[in-house]
Assembly symmetry: C2
Homo-oligomer: 301 residues x 2
């Protein structure tokens, strides 16, 4: 295939998507990747210096097991304007995309990603797909939504280059059906439900949810302000019986240094200072009076 041929592929109103052809497409795609506005979201690396480096990076992605990339072109035009990638990562194949900045704000990625997802659901054997977007990036969220993906989860990602960002996970199932499970709420047996609620509120900002009994024998401490969201459950432990400590992993979106200071100021004990774990993440261990361990992972500062 020559660089000026217009190959067959997945078609939409304005576009054609074809499997990435490194020889033909690298020059056009370097126009995109060489622009820091495009490469910035590759948070851990600098923009490629030249076409050869763009080709090298794309080749590495093509060679990943299950990695598939399609080049975006306007129908009848030879220029490679951008790419859509489907990475075969567990638990769910993962979509990403990029486009030359000169082509932004014309609905091109939305059209391309929607066409690709429809094609893969209809004919490509794909059962489900997800994409991540910065929570503040309404453009990227709009692209995913146009392809029928809806918000499923949020998390916070910290990288040396990209800093700390809240990410939205958007997903779509080929055959939508009821979700089997929504949330798992750990139950912590405690000696004093109201005192535990007060400590979790003062020390971590958790908000009291339901509360049963007077004095309370069951209650919830919500992780966020939304109803039906994740929560820690508190249950009054029978007097006299020993309490076995429970461990809960908490995903935090705000700096652990601040959480540690707040927890300590509220009278909470920690299992030591914020520490870097062998796998690179940071962790703060907040201890409840009964010995329960809240292992809080999040951005360090």
């Amino acid at each position: 295939m020559s660089g000026t041929a217009v190959p067959d592929g997945i078609r939409s109103a304005r576009l054609v998507l074809t499997p990435l052809d490194l020889a033909a497409d690298a020059a056009g795609l370097h126009v995109a990747y060489g622009d820091p506005r495009v490469s910035r979201p590759w948070a851990d690396e600098e923009p490629p210096r030249d076409e050869a480096e763009t080709r090298e990076r794309l080749a590495a992605r093509v060679e990943r097991p299950g990695g598939r990339l399609w080049t975006i072109r306007r129908a009848g035009e030879p220029d490679a304007l951008g790419v859509v990638e489907l990475a075969d990562v567990p638990p769910t194949p993962w979509l990403s995309w990029m486009l030359r900045p000169a082509q932004w704000r014309r609905g091109i990625t939305g059209e391309a990603v929607a066409a690709l997802v429809e094609h893969l659901f209809a004919a490509g054997g794909l059962e489900r797909v997800e994409a991540w977007a910065d929570a503040a990036n309404t453009g990227s969220i709009g692209v995913a939504r146009r392809a029928g993906l809806t918000e499923r989860s949020r998390f916070t990602m910290s990288t040396p280059v990209g800093g700390t960002r809240e990410k939205v996970v958007l997903g779509r199932l080929r055959a939508p059906g009821p979700q089997r499970f929504h949330l798992a709420h750990p139950v912590l047996p405690v000696r004093d439900v109201d005192a535990s609620l007060a400590l979790l509120h003062a020390g971590l900002g958790l908000e009291p949810g339901f509360r049963a009994g007077e004095p309370a024998h069951h209650a919830a401490a919500r992780l966020g302000p939304w109803s039906a969201g994740p929560a820690l459950r508190l249950a009054l432990a029978p007097g006299g019986e020993p309490i076995a400590p429970v461990t809960v992993v908490l995903d935090a979106g705000t700096p652990l240094a601040g959480l540690a200071a707040r927890w300590t100021a509220a009278g909470g004990r920690t299992g030591g200072p914020v520490r870097r774990m062998p796998w690179g993440a940071y962790e703060l261990c907040c201890l409840l009076p009964e010995g329960h361990r809240l292992l809080v992972g999040g951005p360090p500062s």
Copy 2:
């Protein structure tokens, strides 16, 4: 105020919202509530039989502490076309709306709810707001999104009249900022991580997530297919030491009868049949070999 006056209120391009006036608005609103397409989502009751019953129900809502209702009119026209309600329920004020079916599909509720939310955030002291929509109701989700609310959580609701429905919780903060916490993952100490993963997969459909060690000493069993979603964490317990059972509450979106059959078929023990709890919800207790209790709440069948 007479029924034909056009009162001052919150204005948008086409609409005026005024605090509900039972005397002036009940007739117009009965046109809406008397229609089963409107009253069906009031899942636990039948449509009101006459204007008096509509007025009575609206009066009960006005009298709730913190309950506020606004009537929707076209600017310059006297007819009460619908209402927007802000219920002051913990943890977060809760928006709902309805409109005469003859006015549907014109963007009226979206315009009304957006104008109200902007007004309350700018001048009404509101800090955060949420709304619920059926997961399949793209119209209602679109209304909330137009008012700047985005998806935050999902849950499943069962009522005698409405049946079982998956609901989306949409929310907006007046001052958006990073979410303090995303999720809480309970950690279950187990004797055999891989066997536990296999039982949770076969018995409840949980999907293996990360897995560390050979044989595994830590792993995750995901509640759903999305990355960064809720999961049970499994940790290899030191040999010989006793394991203290942990309790986890799981929110299910599919019938407990089917989950019970699947869990039992996979060799899992239960704490008895699905039972109705004193507060009306249904619960299935799935036991892990170590005695951990998964209290699964959800629709009974």
